[in-house]
Amino acid sequence: MQQQQQPSNITRRHDPSHPHHHHQLTEEQQQFQLFQESLPKINRLVYQMLLNEIIPTSISVQNRLDESDDNSDAEQLKKLSISEKPVVPSHKLVSQMHEIKNEGRYNNILERIRTIGFKLGCKIADLLVFANNPNLNFRDMDLLAIMKFVCRDVWKLVFGKQIDNLKTNHRGTFYLIDYSYQPIKNFALNDDTNKLSAEELEKKELKSVEPFLELPVGIIKGVLEALGYNAKETICLATYIDLPNEDASHYGFSKGISFHVQVTNTTRQQQP
């Protein structure tokens, strides 16, 4: 990595829909808000559960694909059997991840989750571009503006909150920091065996939650791709970071997440 400047800290701007925002909304902005409010809605909880269920489903798919690879005769037999196999519960699927020794399998699952996130990111970018939000001018956006868009608008849409902190060296490297990444906020692993030390349990918990982070990684890459930054030239990795020392209970999960994004080609490939 080239010599970095002191990374500058860009915290979020005020959310225009926040009630304490000082400026009077323009008519365009008002219209946009009204339009958004009139769109059909569903319960956020349903969406949250669907989003989280992507991970156990991706594991279940891998299991099924491996089964049919291993033994296609058994697969044929299964098709003939009438009895219904019980559904493997989500928590069992998730804990299976921890047991997987085969790196190829493990990575296949992560790749699947990331791909879903990527496709989702592309569609979300389209959705937000075509929403004609008067606050967003995509044509004039440079990479930094697009990252801010990810931090504010994309995150707010999908996770109900913005990224807590954005750091950049203004040379294509970004850190998106979320101290209370919403989908994992309530996650807590219990120790079925009752034999693990607190440290081992924490380690196991963090490892079990890792696959869940591939989804937002994919989303970030997908958004960037849709807005002109080829996925092949973008790196995105998620790591755990410690929470700042303030009241930790405010955050939810025991660790924050830092998304490290590196874009090698900082000029945008204009869309046709």
Binding site: Q48, N52, E53, P56, H91, N186, A188, E205, S249, S254
Partner: protein
Amino acid sequence: MAIETLLIVNKSGGLIYHRNFGEACEKRKKLTSNDYLIIASTLHSILAISGQITPRALKLNQDDIDYTIPYVPGVGMPSSDSSNNSKMSKLGSFKGDDYFKESFTSWNKSGLRQLSTDQFTMFVYQTLTGLKFIAISSSVLPKNNEMETSKNLNLANQIGDNFLRKIYCIYSDYVMKDPLYSLEMPIKSENFDKKVQEMVYNVQ
């Protein structure tokens, strides 16, 4: 109403949560976790048996009995002088300033709901999915005349039900939305713990 102990028992009688609060922490130190497991399964059996021995008269008149539990405002909620902002975000996915504000029907129609002794009072709240929320309170109901006693019992019961339904709401928020959580296994969520502690503290 001072809550000393909260137990959550799953549909097969297994103990999935127990916590002592305040002074009970000292008092109950002599009980091991194994003791609690036994308490849980005993309670589970007792609840099952009590359902069978409900007086016939009660069963026959079931349609006439009103199982509505009125909403008792403010049970387990922070006092009104705390800032509004801290209240709003505190209820997880439940919008508004309380988990619910209407009266509701008790699911417990013929079993044990409350056990009063001269040392403690125990409240039982059972859900349609078989979960049992049990609160043990150090408040003992004074026994004046019979009318007073039954009125007090009733009010205490209502507060108990309101309180335990809110614990159920917290449970559904924290535990049910966690794909890492094995249904029927002990709850180890710190967030759940904290929220429960908050509620117990508010209800003192």
